[in-house]
């Protein structure tokens, strides 16, 4: 379990537009172990999806640029591979589930065909075998084989997301990037899909990077957590550490913003203000303006990554030498 599958080092991604440069991801370090599910948590625009897309190298050209960094997957730097070599990894070794199942499928092909296509692309097998494999995948995600020849519009949202998951898992990827896979679904359907992902993960031993803004989903499914804010990972650690000993003021703010089911306080405790403009980031701590703990020192330079406990790091000067 301690074997590293993916290691991101000092990743920085920018989007260049006519007017400005968006600093979307800055100096991100992240490790995913074999068989682990890691949650990337953060708000809209924090850079979660950009990190995932960088791994697969599917950032939108021509605006996006990976400025620096290395992404090691099983020891090879993905950023140094040729496009042809990358194609062998994409969808095969690393697969991605996108947020919106309504737009992730081709409306004019049957769902079965779309899964078989992915399988045939990466395996030297006959059409017949691919079709057989695709039907098995459908069965595995709980869709009866008889629906193989139906089109996406004939499926409900939850079923479409299952199709997308079946497709993503069809080549037994070692790493699955799931970008808000259940956000578009109702809670009871979300429960079904999360449950299914969990059992598939156990069967196939896939590592998962789960992008979400829902801390409840994280508590339910993840082994470790990385909290993303304004393009940086501000806190990371095991799920136990993050939920019990959260140390970064932003992480604490996120928890405070949530209505708790079992307590009734007169008002919620939101984080004041908003995320800084990614084209114009402050030189010091990015959370400085919204932070209840901020001091003048925080505005001066970027805060260090402080290891408050083994495997639990916090990007905050206040955490220096702090107990956890």
């Amino acid at each position: 379990m301690d074997e590293k599958l993916l290691e991101i080092r000092n990743l920085a991604v920018e989007y260049h537009t006519d007017e400005a440069v968006v600093y979307a991801v800055n100096n991100v370090n992240l490790t995913v172990k074999k068989g682990e599910t890691i949650g990337l948590v953060g708000e809209t625009g924090a850079g979660k999806t950009t990190i995932a897309r960088s791994i697969l190298r599917i950032l939108p050209p021509p605006t996006a640029r990976i400025v620096s960094g290395e992404i090691f997957f099983n020891g090879t730097d993905l950023l140094k591979l040729s496009e042809k070599e990358m194609q062998k990894i994409r969808g095969n070794k690393i697969a991605m589930i996108f947020q919106d199942p309504m737009t992730a499928l081709n409306p004019i092909e049957t769902v079965g065909f779309q899964i078989a296509e992915a399988i045939q692309r990466h395996n030297k097998i006959t059409r017949f075998e691919a079709v057989k494999r695709a039907s098995e995948m459908l069965e595995m995600v709980g869709i009866p084989m008889e629906r193989y020849s139906e089109y996406p519009h004939q499926f409900s949202g939850g079923m479409k997301q299952r199709v997308v998951i079946a497709m993503a898992l069809s080549c037994n990827p070692e790493l699955l990037l799931a970008d808000e896979p259940t956000t578009a679904l109702d809670v009871t359907i979300q429960a079904q899909v999360l449950d299914m992902m969990e059992s598939l993960k156990r069967q196939l031993g896939t590592s998962v990077v789960l992008i979400t803004h829902d801390l409840g989903v994280v508590a339910d499914t993840c082994d470790s957590v990385a909290v993303v804010y304004a393009g940086e990972i501000v806190e990371r650690g095991t799920v136990e550490h993050i939920f019990d000993f959260a140390a970064h003021p932003y992480t604490l703010g996120l928890f405070g913003s949530l209505p708790q089911l079992d307590s009734k306080e007169p008002r919620l405790k939101p984080i004041k203000g908003m995320m800084p403009d990614p084209t114009n980031l402050p030189p010091g701590c990015r959370f400085y303006e919204r932070c209840p703990e901020a001091t003048a020192e925080c505005a001066e330079g970027p805060p260090p990554d402080v290891e408050v406990a083994p495997g639990h790091t916090v990007k905050c000067i206040k955490a220096r030498g702090g107990a956890a």
């Binding site: 809670v187 359907i189 913003s257 089911l261």
Partner: protein, 318 residues
């Protein structure tokens, strides 16, 4: 005291190519002034249609609606216009519910212009005070919606709803499109406004932790019908209907020490078109049996707690 709003046996059917769609089917409730009624359910359960029908944004098929004791089921045009000042709505999507070509102050002023009776200066002053009330800085006065983030846009939506000093506001998923930290800001704002102006809310949402937090009473809907209705804490403490139980157990709780058993439902929402007379949840229910084929009526299990399940007592004791 007469309740602010009373809805009796409200029905809203839509004719479709495939038959009659029962979007809202025999829904009754009363809502006291200053209280919040939460309406929860999954996509397609009729919660939005219920809100819109109460406001006459669509006409009811059958049933009665009383507002401050007056029957407003079939209002005359003039009456309806007056009614619109007292009953307002905040929409789900702050991105599509605003006119992209109107500035913030134009958008907020629009209801004032439509009502009439104020000079331009008075309206401008009122607009500024509304912006202040909802926490929009004066510098955004001449901004367009696309320049603002979701939270600020939703504040415009709230200011528009408040402009005519309504008594009752239907909030249709007002925070679902927002990030949690912003969501908390908007929820706090809505609670402050309720206190300040004595507003009555009907809060339509699929987010159960939000609804528990904000509501006095909660109504759980399934395929156009109310399956359970109870005071907020009571509903969470003593959930009776099998569907409510599954729904509540499916909410992921941000707490790693409370691992609950999720009740996984089989299948998905069935069609609300030409439904059978029996329990609509039957096909997905673990407790379904012969007598569930008969129409289910809301029964009072304890004071104020209603459930539409013929087997709730057996399930409670098992």
């Amino acid at each position: 005291m007469t309740p602010l709003l009373e809805v009796r046996n409200l029905r809203k059917y839509f004719k479709t190519r495939y038959g009659t769609l029962h979007a809202v089917d025999d829904v009754s409730f009363t809502l006291e002034k200053g209280k919040t009624l939460g309406v929860v359910g999954e996509s397609g359960c009729g919660k939005t249609t219920l809100g819109r029908t109460v406001l006459h944004l669509t006409e009811p098929t059958d049933g009665q609606i009383f507002f401050e004791g007056r029957d407003i089921t079939y209002p005359r045009k003039k009456e309806l216009r007056k009614l619109r000042e007292e009953m307002q709505i905040i929409f789900q999507d702050p991105y599509s519910s605003l006119n992209p070509r109107m500035t913030v102050s134009e958008a907020i002023m629009e209801p004032l212009i439509l009502r009439g009776g104020m000079s331009r200066d008075e309206m401008l002053e009122e607009t500024r005070s509304l912006m202040d009330t909802v926490g929009l800085a004066a510098r955004f006065e001449n901004s367009y919606p696309h320049e603002l983030d979701g939270g600020r846009r939703q504040r415009i939506g709230i200011a528009r709803a408040l402009a005519l000093k309504p008594k009752f506001i239907v909030c249709d998923e007002p925070v679902s499109a927002l990030d949690v930290s912003i969501q908390a800001q908007i929820i706090n704002l809505m609670l402050d406004l309720q206190e300040e102006f004595g507003l009555t809310y009907m809060f339509v949402t699929h987010d159960l932790s939000v609804v528990k937090y904000i509501s006095d009473e909660i109504m759980v809907m399934y395929l156009g019908q109310v399956v359970e209705k109870a005071p907020s804490d009571e509903l969470f403490a003593n959930t009776l209907h099998p569907y409510s139980k599954a729904l509540l157990s499916a909410i992921p709780i941000p707490n790693i020490h409370k691992k609950r058993k999720r009740i996984l439902l089989r299948g998905e929402l069935t069609s609300p078109i030409n439904p059978k007379p029996g329990c609509r949840f039957m096909a997905r229910c673990d407790y379904a049996m012969e007598k569930c084929n008969e129409p289910q009526v809301l029964e009072e299990s304890s004071p104020g707690h209603f459930v539409a399940c013929c087997r709730y007592k057996e399930i409670m004791n098992s």
